[in-house]
Amino acid sequence: MTEAALRLLRTGLDATTAASLEACVRCNLCAESCHVFLSDRESASAPAAKVQQVARLYRRYHTLAGALLPRLTGARTLDDAALAELVEGGFGRCTQCGRCTLNCAVGLDPAAAIRFGRAMVSAAGLVPAGIKANVAAALETGNSMRIGADDVRETIAWLEEDLRATTGDPSITLPIDRRGARVLYALNPREIKFFPLSISAAAQLFHAAGESWTLSSTDFDITNYAYFAADRVAAGEIAGHLYARAEALGVRTLVVAECGHGYRSLRWEAPEYLRRPLPFEIRSFVEVLDEYLTAGRLRLDPSKNPERVTLHDPCNLVRNGGVIEPQRRVLRAAAQDFVEMTPNREKNYCCGGGGGLLAASEYTERRLASGRPKAEQIRRTAARVVVSPCHNCIDQLMELNRHYGLGVEIRTLAEVAADALVARPGA
């Protein structure tokens, strides 16, 4: 186990991460920027402590002083105990939200350094079993929930029928596997299994905007648990499935459903893993909705959502993805009483469910505890509805809602926007 991790440490460390490991001065001023530390106040939860787990190994194998004077520099030999600590620190106490990076006094990237620790854990085969299982499923079947193409088609057909009945509009379609469409709308498999109404909401909005779009019955999955596991090869392969599907369908735009890490991994990371540009653009559904509104392709009536609404900023969509204002413009158009959390935008707190932790049941207790800053943010807004453009965050927010007795409704942006839709004249 340790051999593979050591090989990665010796030969697979990129200069960007190495610079961060070298630049950390252990000032610990980043501690309060981390929601895990804020919730438990344990030294081991501070980002600097987690960075040092990796930095001590780095010094041992990459610096002269670390090799010759390990006690002076705190250098450490990579062994089973060190790997166990990397698992605990990198997965159990970190969601990779990057709030420490934004606030690092030195200006290094603690999240990237901790992610390299995850990569070493991954090389050693010690990734939490739930994450590992999802990676295997995505590699074997094209999606992390092993949903077959027939099941997808069946669900979509049922949704189309249901949508026509509920809206009274027989012209609404949920096209699937349609070559030549302008947009491929790619899904989080949880939508098919557990939240099909978010697909219906998106379909209503595409229909209202007059978009040429399609779903896919295969390789539709935007999630990427290998990205959470920091396994660049597997993460590239998983994203490559969806890229290949988009190319096969000949679309101009791959629209990523509301999923923070899905957007980040597809839009920003995987092209670098695969080292190739893409022949189509990648947009978040949030951006697309905003464009429809700006172009006058959608009309929304905020009075249809009269309750106070607040917005959660998914870390991978906002702080690490750069989609910051579009969801705000959509919400202002779709809801009568939209209030911001404090802090918000790129400074917002992680919900506690990022980094794949929702799939790592061994950390459930800490995951819920580390959601306390988010729960307190929500409570302070006195909102009745919390909107989150990320299905992963939605799962965590629903659990926080129960755990902390928040008494709110958790919804996607598409659902709120669809409820505010005003039928186009003649539609």
Partner: protein, 201 residues
């Protein structure tokens, strides 16, 4: 050239060569090439090296005003001290007014350095992540600041300043003081990351 000055000159050369070797040792920094940028990185890189240093720019500064101020003063004193160390190899003399100002700066910086050392010892979370290098590096820098102050007040103490400075420079490539070099790289990349993605400035 007197022996302390020769030693200092050699120490400068060793430190520069060692730090350059360390920097080249991590390889070339991978830039992002394939995901099209949302915005240009340049503005965020400029932000990283300017506005991002302001006390309200980051929670790490705004939430710890005393540590932030101590850090700023400490590092200002260190930069001035390193410059003075280099100039001590020449015949240049600071004008009296500047020499007095530097004396004050080094005195305050020394106090800040010792304060940060006390904080590292007293703060449980900070102590938990500290290694001996943290204390050695701090004490060596503090000693150099004290020697700079002494040399400013008593010109005959210049050789002590040069010897202390040489010791600091010879130690610098070994441990955390390497951050003086690597923070330039990491800060630039910090700006590139947020700039390309359109998050900052």
């Amino acid at each position: 050239m007197a022996p302390p000055a020769l030693l200092l000159l050699a120490a400068f050369a060793v430190a520069a060569a060692s730090l350059a070797h360390a920097r080249f040792g991590i390889g070339s920094v991978r830039t992002w090439l394939f995901a099209p940028p949302r915005a240009r990185a340049g503005a965020a890189v400029r932000y990283a090296f300017t506005t991002a240093f302001l006390p309200w720019a980051k929670e790490s500064a705004s939430g710890h005003p005393v540590s932030y101020l101590a850090g700023i003063v400490y590092h200002a004193g260190i930069f001035a001290m390193l410059l003075a160390l280099a100039l001590s190899l020449t015949a240049l003399q600071a004008p009296p007014l500047l020499a007095n100002a530097l004396s004050v700066l080094w005195g305050v910086a020394l106090a800040a350095g010792l304060g940060l050392l006390v904080k590292r010892l007293a703060d449980v979370a900070l102590r938990a992540i500290s290694v001996p290098d943290d204390f050695v590096a701090n004490l060596l820098v503090d000693a150099a600041l004290a020697a700079a102050l002494a040399a400013a007040l008593v010109p005959s103490a210049r050789f002590v300043f040069q010897l202390t400075g040489a010791a600091l420079l010879l130690y610098a490539p070994l441990g955390k003081l390497r951050h003086m070099l690597f923070l330039l790289t990491s800060r630039r990349l910090w700006g590139v990351f947020y700039g390309r993605r359109g998050v900052l400035p």
